[in-house]
Symmetry: none
Subunit: 420 residues, 2 copies
């Protein structure tokens, strides 16, 4: 199979001023590697017509595929279209679908559409329009004698959608990529990266295809299995065999695959249990419920919550006994227990979960930052209260607390009467 | 003053595989901008001799200063030295100081020093050695007929130390940089990038120093003013003059400077008004309150909130009248109004804010995704309800709703009795 070479060109002075990092380059590189396409160059150039033209020309000379991000915006200094037009002498035309979308956006938001907004709907004649489903400017695929071009917005959310749904399939199809690169992500929670690596040492050592790459992120760990094979079936089989060996070692911490989120799995668990949930959130300030609600179709399981950030509200709305707060403080096992039980009865749900603790900066009621209590009240079961000591700044402590709460919901056990 | 152009070249296949992001490029760019050096290009190339040579040659042709990071390590695939040697025909020699350091490192750590570790002590004849105080391979400054070169390790910690202590002073001294670069970010909300760009057209046109660069991000816009002047005072003065001209046009949308966040400004507003706030969150699911609480020291202003995701909870906890929901539905001006007013009385706060709408996917109660009502109830004022139609997927709609809510809080007006 011929080696296909790709180059990623990012256009935008903000990158050269160091205001943002070229994360698009990293993301596209990773994806292209998975597809078996070799990325040989990244280039970043500012909003300057001559320099953009020069970089485009160099890229087309040395690379089969050129992926351009940025410079498609409405403003004067968005140079991508002009540079490409001047090099290849192509004309632009209005993409009516995109223009309709842009126009209706401004109508819906009661904003004046200015002339330069039309610019975002301009596409090269002869290009294939790659619809932008999360933003304004559409992407484009364009063939020239010297390269295959992809133009995408610089906003990561928009670029990723266009690349995954249109650019990569276009490449795969055009270059008849005959080796399939397939990967599967195994997601774990409740185990640290080094601990997981340690337990998987021997498996990782023997393993070359699929490759095993552990990845750590805020409060959880994932393992990416990437197999290269002639067919999708054989890749899947190889991956499944490796997965088996991995889960033999650390299966107890496994919760999901690929883009499955812990909140989605927690909601699934609630649905399968036929349970509704309500939360009493202090230090998390609503973040826990917000994460649950980010999963579509949660209305039948998530009743809601009370954010009881102040002690008064813990008393008045969550009905925590004044004695409890006076005697043990709001950052205590006892307060967490009452919060969980009261929110459950208040909202009439099967599950009540509570979060109280110190996010920091600084101590609170004599407790150091990172001190966290999570209470779980479940119908016909004794309320459990878990205590944690999380590291990190205010945001890290809150994020870890939420992650732990989602994990606890995901690990909920069926009631005995259900087992019977 | 002659414009000096710099290029940053990162060498390393791991960058092209997307395993790491080129944070060195961002960091160096930011620093060089502060020194008044224009970075016109970033290039990333893998560990391939021919391609590294080609990238080096291109860089030297178009840039006065070339800063190379990476490829100085001990292994076979570290190509930086070889590529430069082949292009310019320079020899390498052992830097004794560096070699001593490397040798003693291995001795102190009881590790065997392999021959290739000596490679890290090799420097170009005629180069100025830039000591590496936190790692092994030293940096180098090298003058060629076509450019001034800096070679630094790819490890950020080592690169930063060498750049700050040796590379930047070398540049400042060689190019007699006598100007300070200072910048200020102006943050706006409630206006789109193109709209702002449109209203600032004339200002931007006349403006060369300081430069004006608009930047858009999720639901808000910023304008970066960057001035170059002989002294910090004159730079500040020039920036303030430009700021005045900008705020004459779009001052009504301005909310803060530099890293100031909208949630922090909203909390500030609440504090300055002596107001407490409570929220009733439906589609936002707690995200609004969570954002407020992310600001340290909010406990005296943020009482809390009720996440009333289900209609039942809107009735039972937020006490929305059943007739209201039956007649107008939960996605309605009337429901938003009752939610805002009831949450205020329930929590006994000065401000009550409510969020109800359709995040999607799919319609709800006949309303398309993006339909959002925000209610604001304020002591001694008529409750205001705002309707919006936001674009984007579920997460985008929720994020924009929260941003708008923060904006409304930030724009709250003092009560008349305060004015008196």
């Amino acid at each position: 199979m011929k080696q296909i070479s790709a180059e990623i060109v990012a256009v935008g002075t903000e990158l050269l001023l160091g205001q943002i990092s070229n994360t698009n380059g990293q993301w596209l590189s990773k994806r292209l590697a998975d597809y078996g396409v070799n990325v040989y160059h990244h280039s970043v150039v500012g909003d300057n017509l001559d320099r953009v033209k020069q970089v485009f020309t160099t890229a087309a000379k040395r690379s089969d595929i050129v992926l351009v991000t940025g410079g498609l915006g409405p403003t004067e200094d968005d140079m991508t279209r002009d540079a490409f037009q001047e090099i290849y002498g192509v004309d632009v035309e209005v993409d009516e679908a995109s223009l309709r979308k842009i126009t209706s956006y401004f109508k819906n938001n009661n904003r004046n559409m200015t002339p330069n907004n039309r610019k975002q709907a301009l596409v090269f004649k002869g290009s294939q329009v790659l619809p932008n489903e999360v933003g304004m400017a559409p992407g484009m695929a364009m063939e020239t004698e010297d390269a295959t071009w992809f133009f995408m917005p610089g906003v990561p959310r928009e670029m990723k959608q266009i690349a995954d749904e249109y650019a990569f399939p276009y490449i795969k199809n055009k270059y008849k990529l005959d080796r399939i690169i397939q990967s599967r992500m195994l997601r774990f929670v409740g185990i640290g990266e080094s601990q997981l690596e340690h337990q998987l040492q021997s498996v990782i050592a023997e393993q070359t295809n699929p490759t095993i790459a552990p990845l750590a992120s805020e409060g959880e760990v994932a393992v990416r299995l990437t197999a290269s094979a002639p067919t999708s079936e054989s890749a899947e089989r190889m991956i499944s065999e490796a997965e088996e060996r991995i889960l033999e070692q650390v299966g107890e911490y496994f919760y999901g695959y690929d883009e499955e989120s812990l909140e989605a799995k927690a909601v699934e668990k609630l649905k399968s249990g036929g349970w509704t949930i309500a939360a009493a959130e202090s230090l998390t300030g609503g973040m826990f419920t917000s994460r649950l609600v980010s999963v579509p179709g949660t209305s039948q399981v998530v009743a809601g919550s009370v954010v009881c950030y102040s002690p008064e509200v813990k008393r008045s709305v969550v009905k925590v006994l004044p004695e409890t707060i006076d005697r043990f403080g709001t950052v205590s096992e006892q307060c967490a227990q009452e919060m969980a039980e009261n929110i459950r009865s208040e909202f009439g749900t099967d599950i009540g979960i509570s979060f109280t603790g110190v996010a920091g900066p600084g101590d609170s009621e004599g407790n150091p930052p990172g001190t966290v209590f999570i209470g779980v009240s479940q119908d016909q079961k004794a309320t459990k209260v878990y205590q944690f000591k999380f590291n990190g700044n205010r945001e890290a402590v809150r994020a870890r607390t939420v992650k732990k709460g989602l994990e606890l919901v995901y690990r909920l056990e069926k009631r005995h009467d259900h087992k019977a």
